[in-house]
Symmetry: C2
Amino acid sequence: MKNTKQKIIDTAIEIFNDDYSSTLEKVAERSEVTRRTLHRYFTDRSDLLKACQLEMQENCGTSIAKAINSSEDPLMQLEQVLYAGIDCGSKYSFLQKLYQQQDDLSQKKDEGYDAYDDIFSQTMSIILELQQQKVISSNLTLPWISLFLNGIITTTILSSTTGSVARNDIKNFAWYSFSKGIGIDPGNN
Amino acid sequence: MKNTKQKIIDTAIEIFNDDYSSTLEKVAERSEVTRRTLHRYFTDRSDLLKACQLEMQENCGTSIAKAINSSEDPLMQLEQVLYAGIDCGSKYSFLQKLYQQQDDLSQKKDEGYDAYDDIFSQTMSIILELQQQKVISSNLTLPWISLFLNGIITTTILSSTTGSVARNDIKNFAWYSFSKGIGIDPGNN
């Protein structure tokens, strides 16, 4: 059985994803606790948001680590990392939007969850390895590829929330545009 | 000489781009008008923001129209549209962020500046034409390509604000990743 604190966090993530302006009142209600109980765990909104952020980092960290471990082939690893990023990004899209406002950097700086930085470095290593193998174009710099990867994830989230792209197409399109956009040619696909 | 209203709008765009949380007080001061004069033209913050938005639509509309008219070749047109979008996006990046929060759609719905819709349709026509000519992959849908174009523009703005990609590289990287990402092969580049 989930403990109360975790239940509040999970509920908050669900509710804020739907509507970021939702009140703590609503979070408490949907978690089936009183407002008073909620405040026993979280002093205020920003405290709850921090907990959601930590939850995201742990959860996404685990998914992306799994993606990396799913294969020995760096190209396959990169593809799986993209898909894991898309799944994570959709699940926590309100946090993504929040970060974007804050110039996208606080995400890495704020919290003490070092594993997240680890995952980031591992992904960068995969990209570097593919660049050395001339699979990824060596004209592009690592920071561009990293921002482009994030950009593709944001685009897929928008495609999905605006409903303008069929759900079944989204991941295919994302990998198509990302892989070609970094110079991976069809022969390698 | 610029009239007072226009001067306030231009100043607001500059200030909000630096720091969106800046006060109207600061906008008035930097525009060299009293707070009272500012309020003669704009009832409140949201009224001023609307004026900035209209200004953006007119200004970007003109730049993108110019980009389209710069060539007869749809591929060249598309490249110039991307560059115009990047320039516009950087100039009005605070508005971009604002829209992203609101699910990216209000931008087109809110205002009566129809020319903006026109530019959007023209860009979509160029993409369709290139798809028919098999220059752009016909596996991708128009909504994906359109979101992807916006995503690339957002990525370039982030590259530029975070300072992680050299200013001279940004447009090259953007066109490289966008053009390849929609299936344009090197032979056509």
